[in-house]
Amino acid sequence: MGSEIGQAIAAGILGGGVYALMAAGLTLVFGVLDIINVAQGILVVLGAYLSYTISQHLHLDPLVGLVITVPGMFLLGLVIYWLFIRPLRGAERTSMTLLACFAVALIIEGVLYRVYGSGYVSITAWFTSSSIHILDFYLADSYLIGFGLAAVAMALLYLMLYRTTFGRAVRATMQNQSAARLIGIDVTRVSAVTFGIGTAVTAVGGMVYGAISGGFTPNSGYDLISRLLAIVILAGMGSIGGALVTAVLMTTAEALVDIWQPDWSVAVFYAALVIILTIRPAGLFGRRAVRAQ
């Protein structure tokens, strides 16, 4: 039992790193553009399928494949922003952008079904079938590689946000869009690139998800987005550090519940969401009250 719990906590923390990365993209986009990209889930699945295709048909290592998929997803993000998000203005922008993202998600899902069918596939590579033995428990290599990749991507994201001029512009836009515009920041450009970055992280997230999830279909996007939204809302919208902590907490809790109640473990996310928001509507790490938004 003890080793089972230890194993669950280790898997929860490692898996949480990957969710943290995907959620970071979501929360970054929310902070800068004030929209919820509900297509994030299906974009992760798209990233997973791209990595799957690269490893299956081009016979490339999925890690090397990221060199292709990350810029590809970045460009896709730019296109989605430019065509469907940028034209939406006015009082109803909140709901309109949400629905536009949903529509994009539907289209991507339909295309994935057409191309890959509805059967389960999974990414296989040198790290997906082996594990290492530390102390008392076994850790799958795919979890370690996934966590490592997520950590590197998060570090890059952090450096970009806090050590570059562009990152300064992003943070300024997050704080106050009109003020950012007044001091000469090209808010449209910042928004486009942020959306691109938020989408690009799904290439990495998707590759890891495809390797650790033990099989995915185009339908997996719904499960993913609901978890990601739960993490982002629980953490408090726009808080990247909060998303990281919350992601790890939630996946660990899920892994622990999974030991004795495997059927209900997924409900941990939603139950926590509902309970915590009744007590603290701003989320765990939210700075501004959600009610006042």
Binding site: I36, G90, I107, G110, S226, W264, F269, V290
Partner: protein
């Protein structure tokens, strides 16, 4: 949509100069009694819907009819809450599915068969309404994005519960009783019950929109804090709208499950259902009475037809998404409100031109006074 045809005629007449003003006059006078025209249109629509299964007797057509009317009921009910109050719910499938599962379980336990099952529909609505109270009390504390996400969370909790609870039969699902109607007119009882629920749903929206309660809801949509400051008790108002909406949605879900004759978790709690409802509401015009009806009447048969063309329905998904994007970008407020704005602006342009020419050549009523009720009439 019918209202935009005279508008196009009017524009063509207006641009060809003073000689065409006569035509403009006839169009204007025909539009001078929008209320009468609206009532006539309504009677024709109801008659057309009522006689539809008698004219088109093949099973596919009446099948489309039943499902479409169920969607009319649900979209109007969804709009009654989300459209009027501005709280976008992506979790109405929870109420739909609750009503559906209640009907299946109750019919089995209490031995209801054939037409008597229909008596369970109001009860199914009531159960969905009761479920809506705690869900609303929690979710309506937060606004905007967070509210949407909580409704999505509700949806997934409900789906998970349906797949794991004993009462819903878990993932193997349940089968409602099969009525012993004659094969050739099997769909007709369902059709007329669906029509009743749809009519009730639309009538309720219309009544609410004209009432003080509807005004309070729209005040909340426009600025909740200011509405509260003016004395609107926001929580009871929002919650009542949600409960009413859940009641109708639950009834519709119960009817639907009896009609299709099977209840599986993935099927009864379907994320695409939520999306389709929202899309139909947006397509016609959020917060209007006629808009959601138009959206359901146009989009649901289209979706059903597309699904017939291809068994797996993925093209329908792609097309639906694309259509959704087109509506959002080009008709951001929905077909009816955008159409009404278009009509009003054309009328105003013609009125301006006419006054510049020194009065209308044919004696017609003041154009400026007509444009307002006509535009308002589409709401």
């Amino acid at each position: 949509m019918t209202a935009s045809e005279p508008a196009a005629g009017q524009q063509a007449a207006g641009t060809t100069g003073p000689g065409a003003s006569k035509a403009t006059g006839t169009w204007s006078s025909r539009l001078a009694r929008p209320r009468l025209a609206g009532a006539a249109g309504l009677v024709i629509l109801i008659a057309a819907i009522g006689f539809f299964p008698l004219v088109f007797t093949n099973a596919t057509a009446t099948n489309f009819g039943v499902v479409t009317l169920i969607f009319v009921a649900v979209v109007a009910a969804w709009n009654l809450f989300s459209g009027f109050s501005g709280y976008l719910s992506l979790g109405h499938a929870v109420f739909y599915g609750t009503g559906a599962y209640f009907l299946v379980v109750a019919a089995k336990d209490w031995n209801f068969t054939n037409s008597s099952v229909f008596w369970l529909l109001p009860l199914a609505g009531l159960v969905a309404a009761v479920v809506a109270i705690p869900l609303g009390l929690i979710a309506l504390r937060v606004r905007r994005h967070t509210f949407v996400v909580i409704t999505i969370a509700y949806f997934f909790i409900a789906q998970l519960a349906a797949s794991n609870l004993k009462v819903t039969g878990g993932s193997s699902g349940l089968l409602p009783p099969v009525p012993n109607y004659a094969a050739s007119t099997f769909n007709n009882p369902f059709y007329y019950v669906a029509m009743l629920i749809a009519a009730a749903s639309v009538a309720l929206s219309w009544l609410i929109r004209r009432s003080r309660f509807g005004l309070q809801l729209r005040a909340i949509r426009d600025d909740e804090d200011r509405a509260a400051g003016l004395g609107v008790r926001a929580m009871p108002v929002k919650l009542s709208a949600l409960v009413l909406s859940a009641f109708i949605t639950g009834m519709a879900g119960a009817l639907w499950v009896y009609f299709i004759g099977e209840a599986y978790p993935q099927f009864v709690f379907d994320p695409l259902f939520d999306l389709a409802v929202v899309l139909m509401g947006f397509f016609g015009g959020l917060g209007t009475v006629a808009g959601p009806v138009l959206g359901a009447l146009v989009l649901e048969p289209t979706q059903l037809w597309l699904n017939l063309q291809e068994s797996n329905g993925y093209s329908a998904e792609i097309l639906f998404g694309a259509l959704f994007l087109v509506v959002i970008i080009f008709l951001p407020r929905g077909v009816l409100p955008t159409g009404a704005e278009y009509l009003t602006s054309i009328r105003a342009r013609i009125a301006r031109r006419r006054s510049a020419e020194g009065g209308p050549p044919v004696p017609v009523p003041e154009p400026a006074s007509q444009s307002t009720p006509a535009a308002g009439g589409t709401q």
